[in-house]
């Protein structure tokens, strides 16, 4: 079970394993002390005990030996004293002697017996109050030795028995035997006292030694060990703030303390490292997750890319088809802008036709009524003048006269007629001017005018003139309308796969100018400089789109005021059309961009920005080039060059590349 936090695992709160209560440490140290105490006490006790036992045994043996030796010696002296008594069989003397012996408190005789030489007891006595001993039995057993003249001593736990032959005389002849059973009670008692004293002293000494030893142990070993144990336990639990006990000694405990300090530092360092590693691991894990996610995203993106590539290829094909539709839409859009002007253009001739028809009808009716009578009334001379007047008035070759010029002519004629005394000169002058006559023409008709039928003749001639004018008006109006309709039809035709046909560029330019006539005439000076150019192979509808766009842009740039110059000529084996305006020009910074699709400087809704892009594409499809030259503030010129024949430009008429940049 790892006590230190596992770096691989997220840090869990320290409540996972509840720390042991701090008292246990002390208790353990305490139990160590106690254990030590117990052990030491036990050891000392056991040692003491053994010592005491050994000492006691030794002491006992020594004392016993000593006492036996003494007793033996004593017994020998007593034997010497008793020997004569026994020789002469002085029994009472022996008894008294032995009694004296028994009564001596210092000597503890348990029993004595004196026998003769044959072993027949002379005196036998057991001292009361002392442990009994059966001397007879002892004599019997020791008989052999005694006979031999040996002294026999028998040691038992309570008695020391001496059996000795009594020797008398110079010859030391055995006269009898003496047996004394000395009681060991006293000795034993002394011994015991001695032992107890020794034990007591030993215990005291031991106790002292124990206390001293234990105190020493506690101070030098148990306490530092206890502290270190507590510190180590705390460290083990992850509490790195513990204070390592300072043990200044150089011995094992000191080294342990030093080592513990090192351990603690290591632990702190390791903890810090562990934390850092854990943090790094977390970060790495996050980064790994990120990487995995990114890899997944990259895979998805790669897949999307592949799908997108397929879609793009499909879209390219659709785009080509859309391009063609776009050209048509542009045309329609441009057309829409023209419609208002075109409506006016058509309504104008229609209005003229209507009024002309009305006046023709009414004049016809009037003439049918007037003419017969008039012709009847006119004199031949008047009739001649009348017919001449009619001829003059119905001429179809007169140039168009402006209202201002008519006014001036009217004034001059009025004056002339007044001078000639023609009645109602202003009305007459008005009529004559309407018939196209001027001051110089009127002279020859004065006679008719001054005549009696003058007014009615004039009236009839005027009506005829008006009818003629009317038919002329109708004819030219019809022409005008037809031109416009034709231009519209031409413009709106859509045929993307049209073959090239040989067509006149001039016709195309005229068609377009017709459509824009209404816008051009209002304040725009139109200059047409057409050199002879042979018809070229082209798609006229598409080229009309080009001219329309360029003319439209030119008019807009000039705000419908200025000069529009259209040139058509040949140069370097190519047909060249240039459309120039005196408008605001194109700034340098956008000049390179004007052919870009969707590039427009107009507000949203006013222009799609596709016009010039389509123009360029159409020109390129014809194998031609388009250039722009512009001076801001002065004007712009677009120049389109087209090949005169397609053999030299065969390659360019194939399907157009999606984007080809034309040098602007």
């Amino acid at each position: 079970m790892a006590r230190f936090p596992d770096p691989a695992a997220p840090a869990a709160p320290d409540t996972a394993a509840p720390p042991p209560p701090p008292a246990a440490g002390a208790a353990r140290a305490g139990s160590l002390g106690r254990r030590m105490t117990v052990l030491v006490a036990l050891s000392i006790a056991v040692g003491l005990l053994l010592l005491v036992i050994a000492q006691s045994r030794t002491a006992y043996r020594d004392m016993r030996a000593l006492s036996e030796a003494g007793t033996l010696a004593l017994t020998e002296r007593l034997a010497e004293e008793v020997a004569p008594l026994v020789r002469w069989r002085k029994v009472p003397g022996i008894e008294a002697f032995l009694d004296r012996l028994a009564a001596d408190p210092q000597l503890s005789v348990a029993a004595f017996a004196a026998t003769d030489r044959q072993g027949r007891p002379l005196v036998r006595k057991t001292v009361p109050g002392r442990a009994a001993y059966d001397l007879d039995d002892a004599f019997n057993r020791a008989q052999g030795a005694l006979v031999r003249g040996e002294t026999v001593n028998v040691s038992t736990s309570r008695h020391f028995v001496v059996l000795m032959p009594l020797r008398f005389g110079r010859d030391q002849i055995v006269v009898g035997y003496l047996g004394i059973a000395w009681s060991l009670e006293a000795i034993n008692r002394q011994l015991l006292t001695g032992i107890l004293q020794q034990v007591g002293m030993s215990v005291a000494a031991a106790g002292l030694a124990l206390v001293v030893l234990l105190t020493l142990l506690r101070r030098t070993v148990a306490r530092p060990v206890d502290q270190m144990a507590a510190a180590m336990a705390a460290l083990a639990d992850g509490n790195l703030d513990v204070e390592v006990p300072k043990v200044g000694r150089d011995d094992e405990i000191g080294r342990m303390a030093t080592a513990l300090a090192v351990f603690k530092d290591n632990a702190v360092e390791r903890h810090a490292l562990t934390e850092a590693v854990r943090a790094q691991n977390i970060q790495l894990k996050v980064e790994k997750d990120n990487a995995v996610r990114l890899a997944r995203q990259a895979r998805t993106a790669a897949e999307d890319l592949r799908v997108a590539k397929e879609r793009t290829e499909r879209a390219m094909a659709e785009l080509k088809a859309a391009q063609d539709h776009l050209v048509q839409s542009e045309k329609m859009a441009a057309l829409g802008q023209l419609v208002a002007g075109i409506a006016h253009e058509i309504n104008t001739p229609l209005g003229a036709v209507k009024s002309s028809i009305g006046s023709i009808g009414s004049n016809l009716r009037s003439l049918l009524a007037l003419l017969p009578a008039l012709l009847r009334d006119l004199t031949p001379a008047e009739e001649e003048l009348f017919l001449a007047l009619v001829a003059e008035g119905t001429r179809t070759d007169r140039r168009q006269v402006t209202a201002r010029e008519q006014r001036q002519m009217r004034k001059a004629l009025t004056t002339r007629l007044e001078t000639a005394a023609v009645a109602d000169p202003r009305t007459v002058a008005d009529a004559l001017v309407d018939m196209g006559l001027g001051e110089t023409d009127v002279e020859r008709f004065l006679p008719l005018l001054l005549g009696r039928n003058g007014r009615s003749a004039l009236d009839a001639a005027l009506r005829l003139a008006q009818m003629t004018q009317g038919t002329g008006t109708i004819a030219s109006a019809a022409d005008r309308a037809a031109k416009i309709v034709f231009a519209l039809k031409t413009f709106s035709r859509f045929d993307p796969s049209a073959e090239m046909i040989t067509a006149s560029l001039r016709d195309g330019l005229d068609t377009v100018l017709t459509l824009y006539h209404n816008q051009i005439k209002h304040g725009v000076e139109l200059v047409q400089d057409y050199q002879p150019v042979p018809p070229i192979p082209c798609r006229p509808d598409e080229l009309n789109q080009v001219w329309t766009n360029l003319v439209h842009n030119a008019l807009q740039a000039m705000d419908h005021k200025g000069r529009l110059t259209i040139r058509l000529f040949q140069a370097d084996g190519r047909a060249v059309v240039s459309i120039a305006d005196t408008g605001c020009g194109i700034p340098d910074d956008i000049r390179d961009r004007i052919f870009e699709p969707f590039f427009t400087t107009k507000r949203a809704g006013e222009g799609s920005g596709l016009g010039l892009d389509i123009v360029r594409k159409i020109v390129e499809r014809h194998g031609g080039t388009i250039e722009v030259f512009s001076q801001p503030g002065h004007g712009t010129t677009f120049t389109v060059r087209l090949p005169l024949d397609q053999t030299s430009a065969a390659a360019s008429t194939a399907a157009p590349a999606p984007s080809q940049d034309v040098p602007a």
Binding site: T348, P349, G351, S356, K521
Partner: protein, 153 residues
């Protein structure tokens, strides 16, 4: 027999040679940049209204304004103006509004091939427009517009 003749020059100089007349002259002015239209208008209006009025014609607004001033200077009162709308220079509605400021009594008729509703509305509110006719016009409508305008006077 005649008044003294002095060299004829354009515009107002020559008009001073006109003989004095007994009654004030009235004129109807038509303005259109298409000569074709002016001719047609002249035929129709002069046919309908006859010799009572002078018929004057101008091909743009500037010319018309100049003409009105000339006539006014000559004692000729312009009673009616029939004007096109789409003309070079000043458009018809602006022209009529300018005329109205100067000569509010003149009957103004707009004759237009294009219907610019905003312009027509402006001419009505600011220019006292009497009527607006569309090309191609109906002769009866045209004459009616002029006559009704004259009788409102």
């Amino acid at each position: 027999m005649t008044t003294a003749s002095t060299p004829v020059s354009a515009g107002s100089a020559a008009s001073r040679l006109r003989p004095p007349v007994a009654h004030p002259e009235c004129a109807i002015l038509c303005v259109d940049d298409e000569k074709m239209i002016l001719d047609a208008l002249k035929v129709q209006i002069s046919r309908a209204l006859g010799d009572r009025y002078l018929y004057e014609f101008a091909e743009n607004a500037d010319e018309a304004m100049e003409l009105i001033e000339d006539l006014h200077g000559d004692g000729v009162q312009v009673l009616v103006i029939v004007s096109d709308w789409l003309m070079p220079g000043q458009r018809g509605d602006e022209f009529l509004i300018a005329v109205h400021r100067r000569f509010p009594r003149i009957v103004k008729v707009l004759l237009t091939g294009q219907a610019d509703a905003a312009a027509i509305e402006r001419a009505r509110t600011q220019g006292g427009l009497h009527r607006c006719l569309h090309k191609p016009w109906n002769e009866a409508d045209l004459i009616d517009a002029i006559v009704s305008g004259l009788s409102d006077e």
